[in-house]
């Protein structure tokens, strides 16, 4: 979807692409508008996450249809697919999966480059704004559609002076596939 850098070689040709700056500026004005509308940074964070969620539950189908991947056997696999396939496909960046918790239910996606936040410099009064919170929502929404309830939050953010973007993903529950009808219906 997003073209940036040299000719988007990592993207399969079947995907439509848009100019990276159009995308970045569009997202920027959305965030601006949300701040103007809600005036409360916490509320803006929540709205961004909700918007992301709504994108995620739709996006996962497109991803599964186009990504030619097989079933993930563990949460570890899933995290890898998100970092190495989904992010490159939709954002043209890839992430590293690190900081696994001992029980393998919590990990971090680390991005060093984030096209959402190009040009952005957070003013002092918006210190609490999670500028890229839409991504947290996307991941939560997408994984929920494949039966994983996760919690996503940004633990470091380059806009706030950290040295990378780190999205913490915590697997809360893996639901088994249930069909809403019984065999004899």
């Amino acid at each position: 979807m997003l073209r940036g850098g040299p000719s988007g070689a990592r993207n399969p040709p079947s995907l439509e692409q848009i100019n990276a700056e159009v995308f970045t500026l569009t997202y920027g004005s959305i965030v601006r508008q949300l701040i103007a509308d809600f005036e409360d940074i916490e509320e803006v964070n929540k709205q961004l996450e909700q918007m992301g969620y709504n994108m995620g539950i739709r996006l996962v189908d497109e991803f599964l249809a186009k990504a030619k991947i097989s079933r993930c056997s563990s949460f570890r696999d899933t995290a890898d697919v998100v970092a190495k396939q989904a992010l490159p496909m939709f954002l043209n960046v890839s992430a590293n999966v690190t900081n696994w918790s001992p029980d393998q239910t919590e990990c971090s996606l680390v991005l060093t480059d984030n096209p959402l936040a190009d040009f952005v410099e957070l003013p002092e009064e918006y210190r609490e704004l999670k500028y890229c919170n839409v991504l947290a929502g996307v991941v939560r929404g997408a994984l929920e559609m494949v039966n994983m309830d996760v919690e996503c939050r940004w633990v470091s953010d380059m806009l706030r002076g950290d040295d990378c973007y780190e999205l913490r993903i915590k697997l809360k529950e893996h639901r088994d596939e249930k069909f809403p009808y019984k065999d004899d219906d």
Binding site: E21, T24, L25, G28, S29, V31, R32, D118, F119, V120, E121, L122, P123, Y126
Partner: protein, 153 residues
């Protein structure tokens, strides 16, 4: 030869940014810079009226606007009528290509800064990143003996 000050002026001649590269400029010197840049705006207008018919291709680089006792004033006008003014020390020779290169980079820097969704258009630029990158650009032609710890508006 070195850059003594950088100024960005908006389309309505509203000041966006003025910075002296002198590490400890006095108030007097600061007023003088304002004055010199202010005069430069007239020179920009003159150049534009003289040089440009409606069909002329627009060249952003305006060249030397005018020399004062202490400075040589160069100008650059973007298509959205943002003016960039550079003040050079009146010493040694100044190569046009070098000036143009500095202007191009300052222009690119302004574009990036204006693309920040939190930048308020038409108001003075307040951005740490802008400052830092500007210092880097200006450092290609530093004022002899001056550090880059100058101050801003």
């Amino acid at each position: 030869m070195g850059i003594a000050a950088v100024a960005f002026i908006g389309p309505q001649n509203n000041p966006l940014y003025l910075r002296s590269m002198d590490p400890s400029p006095s108030d007097d010197q600061y007023m003088k810079l304002h004055y010199v840049v202010h005069c430069a705006l007239d020179a920009v207008e003159e150049k534009v009226l003289l040089k440009r018919g409606p069909s002329d291709s627009q060249d952003a680089y305006l060249g030397l606007l005018y020399p004062t006792e202490d400075y040589r004033v160069y100008g650059y006008l973007t298509n959205s009528h943002v003016k960039i003014i550079l003040l050079f020390d009146d010493e040694g020779t100044i190569k046009n290509e070098m000036v143009l290169r500095v202007f191009r980079r300052l222009h690119a820097l302004y574009v990036d800064t204006a693309s920040n969704p939190f930048h308020s258009f038409g108001l003075p630029i307040r951005s740490g990143r802008f400052e830092a990158q500007l210092e880097g650009i200006v450092a290609v032609a530093p004022k002899p003996g001056a550090s880059l710890g100058g101050f801003m508006t």
